[in-house]
Each structure stands twice: as C-alpha cells, then as structure tokens.
C-alpha cells in the first residue's frame, strides 16, 4: 500500500533573471517531507539558482511555499528562520573566523546541537581555534555542513557537497548526508550519481531552466539511456 507523503516545499512556475539571462523559466516541483530529493542536471541548467531562489538570495517570480506557507518576498534571514538550512556550493565558510566562530555565528536554536556536530566531525572540535581559511577543502566542507547541522532545521538545501573532494571524503560526506536525511528533509544538488544512488529517494531533473523529469531516484538511475540523455553522463 502506498504511503501518502506530505509536501514540505513546493515551487510553482518560478522564474529567475540574472542580468540578461532568463535562468529559471517556470520551475515547478514538490519536495516531500523526509528523505533526500536530488536536484539533477547538467552544468549551468539552474540547479544552484533554484536553491538560491528558494532562499530569496536572488530575485524570483512565481510561488515558493514551505509547509503551506508562502515565502513570497520574505528576506533571506526570515526564510532561514523558518528552519531552513543551507550548505552552499563553494562552502562559503568565513575564512577569517575560527572554526568555533563560524559555528557560533550559525547558532539559531536555544540549544545548538554541538554534540551531534562533534560526533560527526570530531576534527572540528580539535580545530575549533583554527582559522577556517587554513582548513583543507574537505574540512571546510565539513564545517559548512556542520553549520547547517547545528540547528534543528526542517529543510536543508545542500549544493554539491562532494564537489572537488577526494574519493575517501566523498564517502564520508555521503555518510553524513545519509545521517542528515534521517533527521530532516534534504534537497540535494549533486553531480556524483553514486552519492545520489546511495541516499536520494526522489529525483528532479532540470534542463535549460525547466523541470524535464521527475521520478523515484533509483528508478531514474536504473535507466542508463535516460540518464545519458538527461544528464550527459553514464549512470
């Protein structure tokens, strides 16, 4: 018997213009509550812009609702305060601040989940006094994820968390994302289909600013020809 899932995030006919380019051209999809929804597509099709549009970091037209509430023209900080976490594509840790300061800045809840953060990333506790700019790429990625983990978010927007990481670190990040998906709903932009196969439940594929495919993630990845056509890569 199919279990009805509640929609947590809903995008309807979302358009974004960046300069002269019409980057998102009516993006429409739902993110069910719980688990990982993968947002896939070739480079430059608007995946990162979609996440930034949800957060209000770029101007958008169309409707974005979170748990039934229209986000409208709410400023970014108000959207985030509705318990939305964000792990950006290029990590965007504050390089001049220490690890501890980066985490302190991200605290929103009364009781930030430092236990969980340090359980998953013990390295960060040992390096708390170290400047984030002196961390390796992998450690910076851990810090970026840790900032989002610190608060009890109901939705996490995670943008290419394995980009540029060594294979061993990719597995570690995938493990953390798997753990995250047990705690919250994740909308994941990811190019590494191995990671998608391991953790994603649903898949949404963008092409030229539009949604061109929606299905179960594993179902999609089991069709190599479709994957090649939609993503220009082998599954």
């Amino acid at each position: 018997m199919a279990v009805a899932t509640r929609t947590l995030l809903s995008l309807r006919d979302v358009h974004v213009h960046l300069g002269q380019s019409h980057v998102l051209q009516g993006v429409t999809f739902d993110v069910p509550e719980g688990g990982v929804t993968a947002l896939l597509g070739r480079n430059g099709v608007g995946k990162t812009t979609t996440l930034r549009a949800i957060l209000g970091l770029v101007g958008r037209r169309g409707s974005v609702t979170l748990d039934g509430e229209a986000l409208g023209s709410l400023p970014t900080h108000r959207i985030v305060q509705r318990r939305v976490g964000y792990v950006p594509e290029d990590r965007d840790v504050f390089t001049g601040l220490t690890v501890a300061e980066n985490l302190r800045l991200a605290e929103r809840d009364e009781e930030p989940r430092y236990d969980l953060v340090y359980e998953l990333f013990p390295d960060l506790e040992q390096r708390s006094a170290q400047r984030a700019g002196t961390l390796s790429g992998g450690q910076q990625q851990m810090l970026a994820i840790a900032r989002a983990l610190l608060n009890d978010n109901r939705l996490l927007l995670v943008d290419e968390p394995t980009k540029g990481l060594a294979p061993a670190l990719v597995a570690e990040v995938a493990h953390v994302l798997e753990r995250l998906s047990e705690l919250t709903t994740v909308l994941l932009v990811e190019q590494n289909l191995g990671v998608v196969r391991r953790i994603a439940h649903d898949a949404v594929v963008l092409d030229q600013g539009r949604v061109v495919h929606r299905s179960d993630a594993k179902e999609l990845l089991e069709q190599p020809e479709l994957v090649r056509r939609l993503l220009s890569v082998g599954a």
Binding site: D92, F94, G96, E101
Partner: protein, 299 residues
C-alpha cells in the same frame, strides 16, 4: 632630535584623527559596500555639537575640564545618532544601488556644509578646551603640545574598544563575517541590516571623536573641517585595506608621519602630494591594501 620627536608625535596625532575617521569608513565599505562621502558630515556634527553644547548647554558648569568632557560626550552621542539616522533614512532604501548611494552621500555632504554655514556662518568658531591641552610637555628637549598625547591616546583607546567589540561580541562577529560574505551571513538567518545601522552608528561616533579632536588640534571648528579631513581618511582606508581596522591603524600612522616629515624636510604642502603618490604605489604593488581581505558576495 627634538625637532624629529616633535614631528613624530605631531604626525602620530594627525594619524590618530585619520584613523578615527577611516575606521568607520572602512567598516561601512567592508560590510555594506557603501562609499560614504557623507562621513565628513559626521565629523562636523561631532565638532559643532561639542562646540555648541559647551557654550550653551553646559555653560553653568564651572570646571573647564568637566564642561569640555560633557560637551564632547554630547558630541559623540549626537554624531552616533545622526549617523544611524542617515543609514536608516537615506542609505537603507538604496541597498545594492551603489551609484545612487554615492549620489546621496555626496549630496548630503554638500548640503550639510551649506546647512551649517546657513545656521552658524562661514567663519570658524573658537573651540574652548581645558588650558592644559594647550600647554606643552618637554620630552628629550622637544616641547610637545599636550593635545597630541590626548589624540594618540584616544585613538589607541578607540582602536582597543573596536577590536574588543569586533572580537568579543555577537555583533562584532556578524560584522567580521559580513565583511567577508554578506549573503552568507543572511543565509545563516541573521538580519544583517541591524548590523548595518550599528556600523554606521559606531562609525559616526568614531568620526565625532575625530571632530572633537580636530577642534582641539586646530583650536577652531569650521563648516569644511569634515570634508578636508575626509580626503585623507579615504586614502588611509584604501592603503590600509577595505574592511580592516588594523590596516587602517597602520596606514593612518604611515600617512600622518609621511605628511609631517615631508612638509617639514621638503616643503610645506609637499606632504599631501607624497601621500597621494604613496597611495598610487600601494595600489600598484598591493591592490587590496596592506591588510584588506577579498570582499565576498554582496547579494
């Protein structure tokens, strides 16, 4: 030796004023990307508020020192409030519209000088300060005016307080992070606009301190004081690195000393030219300034 020492202390005193102005300018640009040409008005507000309240509000206070301190305190409060209002009323509606911001702040700086001239006239006003400030202290044969020590000490205290604020408070943390990447601060759920107002207020207070000290240094306050000091403060900000308080402090000392030494050992007025030359050299060798960070996304 005594001449060199006098020039050095005087140069440091001048650098102290530049630093007080530059620190606010640097933080405002670093965090908000706003080139605040109205910062000179904050200097004038501090100086004129001190001058006016000393003569009118605190005229009943017999102690010259206490009267001056109370008036100066009032100058700082008015400077801070004025700067916060400028941010709230004029700058906030123009976020991310940099050309309009420049036009508004340039317009305000011109209009404000005209307003001050309209109310109090174009003549400079005598600035009443405790007589001790006009005395000299002899150090290694050099007769150093006491106000130079006060200027240097005040700038050092302000530098210390700013560093404490930036390193030990939540808002300091937000400002340091915002200088790097404002969009990411917002993406952590922080209303960065409150930090903008606070930075303007802090910058306004520091500029008002500079206004008071310039009154002490020159013995008078005039409608154009803010504008003339602002030019060198901008040079200090660029040399020091946008967004860096420490960089501004070092650059202010370098600029103050360079001006003094050159004006004395070369010819009067050459100092200003050499400072501009120094700016060019720093920009060629190190475009980000001495301690400037890469300014991040400003969405």
């Amino acid at each position: 030796m005594s001449t060199w020492l006098l020039l050095t202390i005087t140069g440091l005193g001048l650098g102290a004023m530049y630093f007080l102005i530059a620190s606010g300018l640097s933080l405002i640009y670093g965090l908000m990307g706003v080139l605040n040409f109205a910062h000179g008005a904050f200097i004038t507000v501090g100086a004129y508020s001190t001058w006016w309240t000393e003569a009118h509000l605190f005229s009943g206070v017999h102690s010259t020192v206490l009267r001056f301190l109370l008036a100066a305190l009032m100058g700082l409060v008015v400077g801070g409030v004025f700067a916060a209002l400028v941010e709230l009323i004029l700058i906030r509606p123009l976020y991310n519209r940099h050309i309009e911001q420049v036009l508004v702040t340039v317009g305000l700086s011109i209009a404000f000088v005209a307003l001050v001239q309209g109310i109090w006239g174009t003549d400079a006003k005598a600035f009443v300060v405790p007589p001790w400030l006009h005395d000299t202290t002899t150090v290694a044969g050099a007769h150093i005016p006491n106000d130079r020590w006060v200027e240097i000490a005040t700038a050092a205290v302000v530098l210390g307080l700013l560093q404490l604020f930036l390193r030990r408070t939540r808002y300091g943390l937000i400002i340091r992070a915002g200088v790097e990447n404002r969009a990411m601060v917002q993406a952590l759920g922080i209303d960065v606009r409150k930090a903008f107002t606070l930075v303007f207020a802090v910058g306004g207070i520091a500029a008002a301190v500079a206004g008071v000290l310039s009154g002490v240094y020159f013995n008078v306050v005039g409608p154009d004081d803010g504008t003339s000091l602002l030019i060198f403060a901008f040079i200090v900000v660029v040399i020091g690195g946008l967004g860096s308080i420490g960089g501004s402090a070092v650059a202010a000392v370098v600029v103050g000393l360079t001006q003094q030494y050159t004006n004395y050992y070369a010819s009067s007025g050459v100092g200003d030219m050499v400072v501009v030359l120094l700016l060019g050299l720093v920009l060629l060798a190190r475009p980000r300034g001495l301690a400037g960070a890469v300014i991040g996304a400003r969405a």
